[in-house]
């Protein structure tokens, strides 16, 4: 009898255990060592998801950003991808094309009202979604513009090319600043296509022809691109901006310490400006160089790996993350832009009247994602090198022609990247 009771108890315990066992899902996150609150918030998100239901348990593995993309590539080769990946927005098409990722498969109605940048689409399907976005603006002081009698531009009436050049010339001639504008040349890598390709697009050019994604001919070396290149080189030749050897510390503090009159910088660097200048701080829209005003968009996003055995679990996690409360938490913790207006209204910085509200408006009105093509990861590096060379005095037409050749050869050698 006693034996029977014991066996029955053991059976009951094992059945109960099986009933409550959660299936493990792996999640790879790129932000190990990040000094801000993002990593802690991702951990909190995982913990709350695990506690919110009994089917899935997400286990997070963090990587340093420097090594993350290479680690994902190696894991894909070895067939060891996790269930859930985080992916930088412009890189996503490459991973989808290379079969690292599968379509997210979530109801797109849930993404209504989102900013355009955080939704990662490839070949007509959503592969990834972000919980935040970032935006850049011309950061300056109202008193600086008033001192030199320069009009304060607005989203509806941004500076024209002539106005922008005139402002640089006026401020430069005053001799009050080391440089009238800081473009952030101390930053390398993705900063170039993210921050500077919108300027090229505003001239009417682009990194690659977005109608076909099969060539850069005519867009990166056409008349508009040549005009952009000449203008770009002139910024450095006229000492309007620091060159490629800019000190990283100057990039950090140059505007605050009065070295620069204006700075082309992101919302992540805006709070110190507000603290330093208060109501005098201005975050201005990108100038319109003739083809509209645009700024970059898309930051890190979550997606499901192609080899996940539990895509429904991965999807459940991502859908859990797509709540205003998380958008608000990440925004308050990291200073990044929440992806919905309703979440923005609850944040400390982006609520109506908040110090960074303008960035949400900029993101909503001007954001243009970088070229949505698997070849972007190569094109971004080619673009970076070309702009750096032109800044350092290389012939504009030759440099852009060489960049076009390199991009086209890469597209050809990858059979058009599946477009």
């Amino acid at each position: 009898m006693r034996l029977g009771v014991t066996l029955a108890s053991l059976f009951a315990v094992s059945v109960a255990g099986a009933a409550t066992a959660q299936t493990e899902l792996s999640l790879w996150y790129h932000g190990a060592g990040s000094a801000n609150a993002e990593e802690a918030l991702v951990n909190q998100l995982v913990e709350e998801f695990n506690a919110s239901q009994s089917d899935w348990k997400v286990l997070i593995e963090t990587f340093p950003q420097l090594a993350y993309n290479d680690a994902v590539g190696a894991a894909a080769l070895a067939g060891e991808l996790p269930d859930i990946l985080d992916v930088d927005g412009p890189v996503m098409p490459n991973w989808a094309w290379a079969n690292y990722m599968q379509p997210l498969g979530i109801d797109e109605a849930k993404l209504e009202g989102y900013l355009p940048g955080p939704i990662g689409r490839w070949n007509g399907e959503v592969y990834s979604v972000g919980l935040w976005d970032a935006a850049v603006a011309l950061t300056t002081r109202r008193s600086t513009l008033e001192k030199y009698d320069i009009r304060v531009p607005t989203l509806d009436a941004p500076w024209s090319l002539e106005e922008f050049n005139s402002a640089l010339e006026t401020i430069s001639a005053s001799g009050d600043f080391e440089y009238p504008l800081d473009l952030g040349m101390a930053w390398k890598g993705e900063w170039y296509p993210y921050a500077f390709s919108p300027l090229l697009q505003s001239f009417g050019g682009d990194i690659v022809d977005r109608t076909t994604y099969q060539t850069a001919e005519g867009v990166l070396n056409g008349d508009a691109a040549l005009a952009f290149g000449e203008w770009w080189q002139g910024l450095f030749a006229n000492n309007y901006v620091p060159g490629t050897s800019q000190d990283a510390a100057d990039r950090e503090t140059g505007l605050l310490e009065g070295q620069y009159a204006m700075s082309w910088n992101g919302n992540w660097a805006a709070l110190p400006v507000v603290e330093a200048f208060g109501d005098d701080a201005l975050f201005l829209p990108a100038p319109d160089f003739g083809n509209g005003s645009t700024i970059g968009a898309a930051s890190w996003q979550f997606g499901v790996s192609a080899t996940s055995e539990h895509p429904e679990g991965a999807r459940a996690f991502i859908e859990f993350a797509l709540q205003d409360k998380w958008f608000t938490a990440f925004s308050d913790g990291t200073g990044l832009i929440p992806v919905t207006a309703t979440a923005a209204a609850d944040t400390a910085n982006y609520a109506p009247g908040g110090p960074l509200e303008v960035f949400y408006d900029l993101s909503e009105a001007q954001a243009l994602v970088r070229p949505v093509t698997p070849g972007y990861i190569v094109q971004a590096k080619v673009f970076e090198k070309a702009l750096s060379d032109i800044a350092n005095g290389a012939d504009v037409a030759d440099t852009l022609d060489a960049a076009v050749d390199e991009i086209n050869e890469d597209i050809e050698s990858n059979s058009g990247y599946g477009h």
Partner: protein
């Protein structure tokens, strides 16, 4: 025959010391820069690079970068992992490669020269070129663990160690050194009835201090500086080595240079300690074999 006057001797001595000091400065200043910079805030660190202040512990000096670095990354775990992986690999390399070299030099077996030639040919193949096939193999290899036979070595210590135990360079070093050992000693031992194992252990190894030190240092540096391989095969933070850990100190746009210097200073300590402990035998080996470290 030219006479060397006392004045000439003095001049030569001064010249010699001047050259030696210059060479020492070239080698020591980067370390000095690293150590000193680790004590400075970023802005001062970068502005000091324009002058000799970069090598002096002046200005706003503190250990803040060290405490910040420890908060940013599990440095102790990374250092322990690297020391463990490197230490085990070095020991196994010394054992396996010296045994292989012993076989090449002292044993007479069919195909020995061909195999040795093939082994030497592997020296010209860069490791990076075989990483992808090695990765694919490592992801499928079997292993007997607690739960029986399992497949896949990724995310383990063994995948960081085993592929690097045997290498052509270490075997080559041992072979060259063993060839110079007096054959009479080996022959006398054989006549006395010693087994090959006993000759290896009691005769050859005790005479091989310099080459053991050389092979150990070269392997130590190679393993401790590994970046690409562990990056590809290790996903878990708890078994990550120091060089991959360096990535914790850069993000998309900013590099906290002071923390980077603090991290580099910390992870350089085991290398310096290991080198200094073997320095005397290493130099003896360089002098006797002409091997450069």
């Amino acid at each position: 025959m030219a006479l060397v006057s006392p004045d000439n001797r003095g001049l030569r001595l001064v010249t010699r010391y001047a050259v030696l000091i210059l060479v020492a400065v070239i080698f020591v200043f980067p370390l000095l820069f690293m150590g000193v910079s680790s004590l400075k805030p970023d802005q001062q660190l970068l502005s000091d690079t324009n002058s000799l202040r970069a090598f002096l512990p002046v200005g706003d000096i503190s250990f803040d970068n060290y405490s910040d670095a420890f908060q940013r990354a599990p440095i102790g775990v990374f250092v322990l992992n690297s020391v463990l992986v490197t230490g085990v690999t070095v020991l196994l390399t010394l054992f396996v490669c010296s045994l292989a070299a012993f076989s090449f030099v002292f044993l007479d077996w069919k195909g020995r020269d061909v195999i040795f030639t093939i082994l030497l040919a592997t020296l010209i193949i860069p490791y990076e070129t075989i990483f992808i096939p090695l990765l694919l193999m490592a992801s499928q290899l079997p292993w007997i663990g607690g739960g029986g036979i399992e497949f896949g070595w990724l995310n383990t210590y063994r995948v960081q160690i085993i592929p690097f135990i045997a290498d052509g360079l270490s075997i080559f070093l041992f072979v060259q050194y063993f060839k110079d050992l007096p054959r009479e000693l080996i022959e006398a031992s054989r006549v006395e009835g010693a087994s090959w194992w006993m000759i290896y252990r009691k005769v050859v190894l005790p005479l091989s201090g310099p080459v053991i030190a050389t092979a150990a240092i070269l392997k130590f540096l190679f393993m401790y500086n590994q970046y690409l391989w562990p990056l590809m095969v290790v996903q878990a933070e708890e078994i990550r080595p120091v060089m991959v850990g360096l990535g914790y100190f850069t993000d998309q746009l900013n590099v906290p240079w002071g923390e980077v210097m603090a991290y580099l200073t910390i992870i350089t300590v085991p290398v310096l300690a290991f080198y200094l402990s073997l320095q005397r035998v290493f130099i003896a080996s360089v002098a006797s074999t002409g091997v450069k470290g």
